[in-house]
Point group: C2
Chain length 347, copies 2
DNA sequence: AATCACATTCAAACCGCTTTGGGTGCCACA
DNA sequence: TGTGGCACCCAAAGCGGTTTGAATGTGATT
């Protein structure tokens, strides 16, 4: 009936009075095809709106032409996090540009291993992206064992064998943020961090401690909170710290959303952010959570998650297509941007 | 080499000394197979860890065993919204439970039409979910024309022909929220809404106006804001309205995040939410943005986006598998939950 | 004029499964 | 004793591409 749905290689070949072999070769850019013929084929393909059937290609080539993202549906902690949507958006851009599909598997986190094994044995994807790496993440050795190409968004402290990753320099970012506050004269600086079984949280804490150490200050457990990254947690953490006998005069929050909570706590106490208490956040540049439109509201260490998605996807496609051999690594530096949420220390 | 990767139907059949036909039938539950044989086959499949190759199944059956979600990568407005991640999580659950894959295509929004056409002609998916329906959404007639089964998350005002959808009763929800505020004695109620080319925003506004009309109050343009759903927009909207000569004593915000902005504005002005200004939000129950852990912070109209994802996926699979014939419709009612952000009117 | 390299093209096998259209053997029934 | 029906199983033909191994024609080389 409708041409757009029915036209296939054989049919096209018949119309051109050529063999399917030649048509296939012409379209796929093989050299052993006469230039004139190639043009004729291309023209006909265009005219009849020929789109090769993906299912057939996949079967014939043995490649899935798809990249998988396994999302553990958290029974314990919430991992369907806001960062995810933006990362996906970045990666997806690259996939479609290269003719790859993006496959999401949402699986209960206790069946994650099985999910990866199935992906392998059914051959549904050519590679996977690993999200939210944890301390000693078991997924990495598993994927190595299975021989599935993969790129980790982040790194997994505790894993010694090499693997491909894209990460922001969390440690350096938080070190700089802390130093920046020191330079402003602050001495008591609170850290409102994510849960520290997540790798990024571990590194951020280290960066924070590095900066303290450089000033010869011992880290104070009272000034460090590790919690779910919600507005409420940010609020409670700030609230508690600000109620201490020696309250912090500056806070570093691990995300925009925690920062919003911290700000609320500050304002609840009748203080003004940027004047009475300085706040620095880490800003992932989420599309629906901008840090101010023109002028940044929060001083922040900034690094685009969407860009990370693009880089990771690029890297993975390179691996899948055999262009990359050794595990690549890409460390993105966060930018420190100055907003209105920080100011000099006032006694 | 490794059995898990190599074992295929032919091989399994050989080991069992049966034809591929019979093995296939046995595994797929066809009746014309001896019970004993079936058991023998099942046992062998288990033992050799046989997983049928998805690519081959897809080609042979002509079904893609996949559902597509096309995400327009907004050049104009940001649509990679936070709601998306949770919806996906819900839908994905259903897909994997039914052996379907979830395919995301991230495409620049000016090539969206082409994306759908390709999906059709390449046969990569069996159906699609339409996200973020707009006024007179062009995607609906397009999909009808292409003959791709689809379910809309939301509805598209202006589309007259029937189509399948899952939506929350936005109109009713906002009407109830407004009435609730009236019952508390409030008379000047501000609406902080999303952009009104989005269908849900149109309906929410109508619900709000319905409630006003029922009290014989004419809607005041000054009390209605339509903006991107960000914290900043919520803040500015509230700020502006509260600075009016006759400021509102209650606000309704279209999302948690706008509500946070509104709250900040209230507190910025030295007022207390729930006492000086009441705020009701619409709460999509996003996993990473809970409205309080035990007691709700905000009074809210609540409806789970994740649940909507499950329902939509279920509906679509029903359509794809031919179990559903006429376009189904599912209207979810939002629940009104009382939190601490609302209180009686105080002059 | 025979030979060879090269450029083009094609027939057929293959990817791994489903499904159509028969077989075959056995038992009940007339 | 022939016949029909049933239960069970199989060979082979797809599905729509890619890829291998030849075949053909042509001009250059000897």
């Amino acid at each position: 009936m409708d041409a757009s749905a029915r036209m296939n290689l054989k049919e096209l070949a018949r119309k051109l009075d050529l063999s399917p072999t030649t048509v296939s070769r012409a379209l796929n850019g093989y050299p052993e095809v006469n230039a004139a013929t190639r043009e004729r084929v291309a023209e006909a393909a265009r005219r009849y709106n020929y789109q090769p059937n993906t299912r057939a290609i996949r079967l014939a080539t043995g490649r899935a032409m798809a990249i998988g993202h396994v999302i553990p549906l958290a029974t314990r902690h919430e991992i369907v996090n806001p960062v995810f949507a933006d990362f996906i958006a970045g990666a997806g851009e690259i996939y479609s540009r290269n003719g790859y599909d993006m496959l999401l598997s949402v699986v209960p986190d206790d069946t994650e291993e099985r999910a990866y094994r199935e992906l392998k044995s059914r051959g549904t994807v050519d590679g996977v992206i690993v999200h939210g790496p944890r301390l000693n993440d078991e997924r990495i050795p598993l994927l190595v064992e299975l021989g599935i190409p993969f790129v980790v968004h982040g790194r997994a402290t505790g894993t010694e064998s090499p693997y491909a990753w894209v990460d922001v320099n969390n440690r350096r970012a938080f070190q700089r943020a802390t130093e920046f506050l020191f330079d402003l004269g602050h001495r008591r600086i609170g850290l409102i961090n994510g849960l520290e079984f997540m790798d990024f949280a571990i590194r951020r804490r280290r960066g924070y401690e590095d900066a303290l150490a450089a000033r010869g200050i011992a880290p104070d457990p009272e000034m460090m909170v590790s919690e779910e990254m919600t507005e409420g947690a940010g609020y409670r953490a700030a609230r508690r710290m600000l109620a201490l006998p020696h309250p912090p005069t500056a806070l570093i929050a691990s995300s925009m959303i925690m920062g919003l909570g911290a700000r609320r706590a500050v304002e609840d106490l009748g203080m003004k952010m940027g004047r009475d208490v300085s706040i620095i956040i880490h800003d992932d540049e989420l599309s629906y959570m901008r840090n101010g439109e023109d002028v940044p509201i929060f001083t922040a260490t900034r690094s685009s998650v969407r860009e990370a998605g693009r880089l990771a996807a690029d890297m993975l496609l390179g691996m899948v297509q055999g262009k990359l051999t050794s595990p690549a690594e890409h460390l993105m530096e966060a930018e420190l941007i100055i907003g209105g949420s920080t100011g000099p220390y006032r006694s």
